[in-house]
């Protein structure tokens, strides 16, 4: 019987297998950031252990860094100390690092693919749940905790129990105006925040095959929000075209050997998945969240749900709590929800294509008077690329703020935060209570909806905008 893509990548990395024990899996790429690594480096130091493969390890600074005044010392002393600890640890253990100010600095999940370090068939880990992003290349990529970070630093391996596999098949092409973000929000609403637990999701079908690499990264990025360890898309010519020529991509004969291998990385026709979900692309439309977990989403054209809609008591309590926290009334059209902050950025939607589509919508428009819009490129190189295309001038001309690269308002760990009661339309990945700042309220949206919402002052899509005046 055939095997799935996830199983093929897994099998190619088994270092040791024994009855009654987890497989010992080799890790091809270990990405590191300042938040989840200091205790791991400390433990290595205490045990007198080196980093086994600093040449398969890469650090970048993203969670704590400010996105303004990036040429000045970090003002928050606690954040500054954590970033400094990463720099010292990398220097001591020989790990390459892209620090604030480097042209290659940025969000860890934007930097890896951009450098060509993320390639099909690899195992990629990082002390960060959005490591699932890299699965867009047909890599097996998943987030780990600090104890596992230490384990990988010391051994370049992880003991793991095989995951189950789930096919998410998107039948038909995505309708116009529907993005990878809308698709993944719809998937999570369908299977729930726990629906993917124990699974690697493989996204398949026409609606996925047609996506660009950046769209596939958005899709895989939020696999964790469905509870899955990883999401994958089988590599194809779109993948190879994206990787070719990047700094760390193979060259010459090695490129040919790599592509020949990568072409074998697909689920066999006679393979079976442990679970299958089919999404009809034609039924999709722009999707937004109303609640406090990413599964609490509805089409933009729908209304705020009611606790009476709940399937059981646990869900009813969950809806009630979410409505209270979000300050929403059941039955309110989502388009009537007024917004005061728009955040365009993050490892989900902070890439050049995201900035381009948002700029296209904002060209000749103005951000509404009572709205502030932050545009935060996912990496320093994305920022430079955007500036070379004049996108910064579009954003600034529309009244948005143009920032330096980092995680920014995705997670309330740096100066970019919501204040209590503020309501955002955010292209990030989590609408948890307080995620963007204590008391802040988050609606997850696509870059298109974010840009239109900034102009309208309430949730909306580009089709809601008055005709472009320019």
């Amino acid at each position: 019987m055939g095997t799935t893509l996830a199983e093929k990548v897994w099998e190619a990395h088994v270092v040791r297998r024994a009855d009654g024990e987890p497989d010992l899996l080799y890790i091809d790429l270990h990405l590191v950031h300042e938040v989840t690594s200091p205790q791991a480096f400390d433990a290595l130091r205490d045990a007198g252990r080196p980093v086994r493969r600093p040449d398969l390890t890469l650090a970048t600074e993203d969670h704590n860094v400010p996105t303004v005044d990036v040429d000045k010392p970090i003002a928050d002393p606690v954040s500054a100390a954590q970033v400094e600890a990463l720099r010292l640890n990398c220097a001591e253990f020989g790990v390459p690092i892209y620090s604030l100010g480097s042209i290659d600095q940025g969000i860890v999940h934007v930097v890896g693919p951009q450098l060509g370090l993320t390639q099909p068939g690899m195992t990629v880990v990082c002390g960060d749940s959005h490591t699932s992003t890299h699965g867009a290349f047909g890599a097996l990529a998943f987030g780990i905790g600090t104890s596992e970070v230490e384990h990988v630093l010391a051994t370049q391996t992880l003991p793991l129990k095989p995951f189950k596999t789930m096919a998410i098949t998107v039948d038909g092409p995505l309708p116009a105006g529907v993005t990878a973000k809308d698709l993944i929000l719809a998937v999570i609403a369908r299977i729930g925040t726990g629906g993917g637990q124990g699974y690697v999701l493989e996204y398949r079908g026409e609606g996925v095959r047609n996506l660009s690499m950046e769209g596939r990264m958005t899709l895989c990025n939020m696999s964790i929000e469905a509870g899955a360890r990883a999401g994958m898309v089988a590599p194809d010519d779109i993948t190879f075209d994206y990787v070719e020529g990047r700094t760390h991509a193979p060259h010459g004969a090695e490129w040919d050997a790599a592509v020949a291998y990568w072409r074998t990385l697909r689920t066999d026709d006679d393979a079976t998945f442990d679970a299958e979900v089919v999404i009809k692309a034609s039924e999709l439309s722009p999707f937004v969240t109303w609640g406090t977990n990413p599964g609490q989403g509805v089409p933009l054209s729908a209304v705020v749900p009611s606790p009476d809609d709940a399937a059981d008591e646990v869900e009813r309590v969950s809806i009630e709590r979410a409505l209270e926290y979000m300050g929403l009334t059941p039955g309110t059209p989502m388009r009537d929800v007024a917004i005061d902050t728009v955040f365009l950025g993050s490892c989900t939607n902070g890439r050049i294509e995201d900035l381009r589509v948002a700029a296209d919508i904002l060209r000749g428009q103005q951000v509404a008077d009572n709205v502030r819009m932050l545009v935060v490129p996912g990496s320093a190189r994305v920022r430079l690329q955007a500036e070379s295309e004049g996108l910064d001038r579009v954003f600034l001309g529309a009244g948005a703020e143009w920032r330096g690269a980092g995680c920014s308002m995705c997670l309330g760990m740096n100066p970019d935060k919501l204040t209590p009661g503020e309501r955002s339309a955010s292209t990030s990945n989590r609408n948890f209570e307080g995620r963007q700042g204590p008391g802040g309220r988050t609606h997850l949206v696509s870059p298109q909806v974010a840009a239109a919402t900034a102009v309208l002052g309430h949730l909306g899509s580009p089709s809601d905008l008055p005709t472009n005046v320019s």
């Binding site: 270092v15 200091p38 307080g434 204590p438």
Partner: protein, 196 residues
């Protein structure tokens, strides 16, 4: 790591589902570079509410947390496990745990006992009726016991073995050093390195 064989203590009922790790410990606390002292950040936003279960005197000193389904979703932050441990919890009981949280717990020595939702509901009723009820989580027999209730719980057999022995995962893996070296020698030439 200390071995975990069995634990008996009072328990706190957390009647919430989808408790994500941002709720268990907000990002602000993740700036610390130390391994201990995260108890002040545990459930930070909710602890501002006097009615929150951990603010009730009846549940002071609870060392077992009985939580709703999908506990520990979201961010991979192991700080969530450390905060629960630093606060004094030895075990969490739930009918569904998020994968990364559960893995982190196993590494750090916090027992996550997976039971059916009916057992969670029974435990909630018991510990709400009498907060002094002692709950025993026994890893040897894989059972949760309180009053007349004895229910089996699920735990990964390998994690169970490691916790019972109190073994260091890295130490175990390094016994396979020659296997790792052999594997490394067979990796394809096109596999990238991070050095330039």
């Amino acid at each position: 790591m200390d071995a975990f064989v069995t634990h008996t203590g009072t328990a706190a009922p957390l009647r919430r589902s989808n408790v994500d790790t941002d709720q268990i410990i907000p990002a602000e606390y993740l700036k610390r570079i130390t391994r201990h002292g995260f108890e002040d950040g545990l459930f930070k936003a909710w602890r501002n509410d006097p009615e929150f279960v951990l603010n009730q005197a009846d549940y002071a000193g609870a060392s077992v947390l009985v939580a709703g389904p999908d506990f520990g979703t979201g961010s991979s932050r192991e700080h969530a496990v450390w905060a629960l441990q630093d606060y004094g919890f030895m075990a969490v009981i739930s009918s569904r745990f998020a994968d990364i949280f559960r893995g982190n717990s196993g590494k750090a020595g916090l027992l996550t006992a997976l039971v059916d939702q009916e057992t969670v509901e029974q435990l909630w009723l018991m510990i709400e009726a009498d907060p002094t009820t002692l709950v025993t989580v026994d890893l040897e027999s894989q059972t949760v016991a309180a009053g007349d209730l004895v229910a089996p719980f699920d735990v990964d057999p390998y994690v169970r073995w490691r916790l019972l022995q109190g073994l260091d995962d890295i130490g175990i893996t390094l016994q396979s050093e020659s296997d790792i070296s052999t594997f490394e020698a067979s990796r394809p030439a096109f596999a990238p390195t991070t050095l330039t």
